[in-house]
Subunit: 249 residues, 2 copies
């Protein structure tokens, strides 16, 4: 009998499982995942992250664990760690960021199944799953692998982003995954010299998205240069107490 | 014998074929494709666009052809048109933007083969192909379907974008697709109130990308609210003579 990659023998009883999705890439999904993980950890929770974006993995770099290599112990995979947050990503298995990964969909599900079954997570209060972009079968399958998975949607203010994010929400509804809410990122930019605010990417679409999906907007994050700077350094904002910290709490 | 979707019987002899790719989503790849098409058309060229981003199609909306439905005539598919630029997109076949498309990879290649073989393009000077995001086999296969395809890479200043864009460049090198160059988008934001410039997404990474891929930076586009506004209206900047027009020329 062929193994069904969607049937996972997992250790996450009592863990809050939150898949973070966006549909469209480049909206800040991974940045929100990394910052949310640290914000939850600072409140005293044990947190893990599965980087399920196999083709566009970015969690290791965001967490400052870019060069880290995964090791095994007694047949189990040891996750990498930063300030107590545990992460597993295909990026920690490959030898260089420049080499494209070309895997077929079934292999990807097999790898994710291993991330869920064979990694030595210990007890977790929260497991965040950074979903791949797109609205095809990949995010849909991943949301169904673990029981009681919730979905957190990240979008930016423009219609082109919220429409694609909406498709992920529709997918979640079809497989009875509960939608926690929507986070709007890059909401506006404020000039630090004169205080003028600019809604570069527009406004009003996220409200419509939340209504369409019968959910609520959990927060709005402005476009802040420091958030990008800290991410590039591998030091998510919440970790270094920067301007973004208050936002992510 | 199973049909090989990568063997396409096409009518594009003498046409310049430019695939536009980015690896990471949300960097402005489709915006650049739509604006480039109009800039080329304004110089007197006949231009067509294939929206190969099946899961995240956005060309119809960008071109103001969102509600347009594709029709057939004598067994051929008639492309939609805006100011003389012809487009074909899966978005013009589906009934609603909110419904996710869940197709397996072979079906997608079959659809793209039809876009190349059965659409009544007439004579074209340029065919632009808006590639799907990602660095998996999908953009790789599409770049190989038509002979003499060139690749134009769109990226934003941050390392996380240029690293993923680099993977698409490596794929192109592996299958002898010529890289035309790199366009850096969202290079900076300038406050229209006091003139202060902000490099929100950083700088310097695109230069390194161009060196790694042995190619050059063809242009830089700042973050301009009007580019997004016009895109949302379905009126690419070059069409309406806005601030972006000079940039895209
Ligand atoms: N609120 C923000 N302000 C400034 N830069 C941001 C913000 N959110 C994300 N970014 C930057 O935008 C880029 C895209 O974010 P990323 O998390 O990689 O997006 P995704 O995971 O959706 O592809 C990154 O360079 C990141 O640093
Ligand atoms: N230079 C720019 N200035 C302002 N907004 C931009 C710019 N380039 C792209 N955008 C906006 O950013 C969003 C993402 O662009 P899009 O072309 O959809 O990206 P991609 O095709 O790479 O996913 C769109 O809302 C678009 O209007
Ligand atoms: Zn100012």
């Amino acid at each position: 009998e062929k193994e069904n990659p969607l049937k996972v023998n997992h250790p996450f009883w009592g863990t809050n499982i939150i898949a973070v999705g966006s549909g469209k890439g480049g909206v800040g999904k991974s940045t929100v995942t990394a910052n949310l993980a640290f914000a939850l950890q600072r409140e005293g929770n044990k947190v893990g992250i599965i980087d399920a974006d196999i083709y566009g993995y970015s969690i290791p770099r965001l967490m400052g664990l870019e060069g880290g290599r995964v090791r095994g112990k007694d047949g189990r995979i040891l996750p990498l760690e930063r300030e107590g947050v545990k992460i597993i990503s295909i990026g920690s298995f490959t030898d260089s960021e420049d080499k494209p990964i070309i895997w077929r969909a079934p292999m990807i599900l097999g790898v994710l199944k291993q991330f869920m079954e064979e990694v030595d997570w210990g007890e977790l209060d929260y497991l965040l799953i950074d979903l791949p972009p797109g609205t095809g079968d990949s995010p849909l399958n991943i949301m169904q692998m673990l029981p009681n998975t919730n979905l957190l949607i990240v979008t930016t203010p423009q219609a082109s982003a919220s429409h694609v994010a909406g498709r992920v929400g529709f997918l979640a509804n079809e497989v009875d995954v509960h939608i926690l809410g929507v986070i709007e990122n890059m909401s506006y930019f404020q000039c630090s010299n004169c205080g003028e605010k600019y809604k570069i990417f527009g406004e009003g679409e996220t409200e419509e998205l939340a209504i369409r999906l019968n959910t609520s907007i959990l927060g709005r994050i402005p476009l802040i240069t420091e958030i990008r700077e800290k991410s590039d350094e591998g030091n998510p904002t919440t970790l270094s107490g920067g301007a973004g910290e208050k936002i992510f709490q």
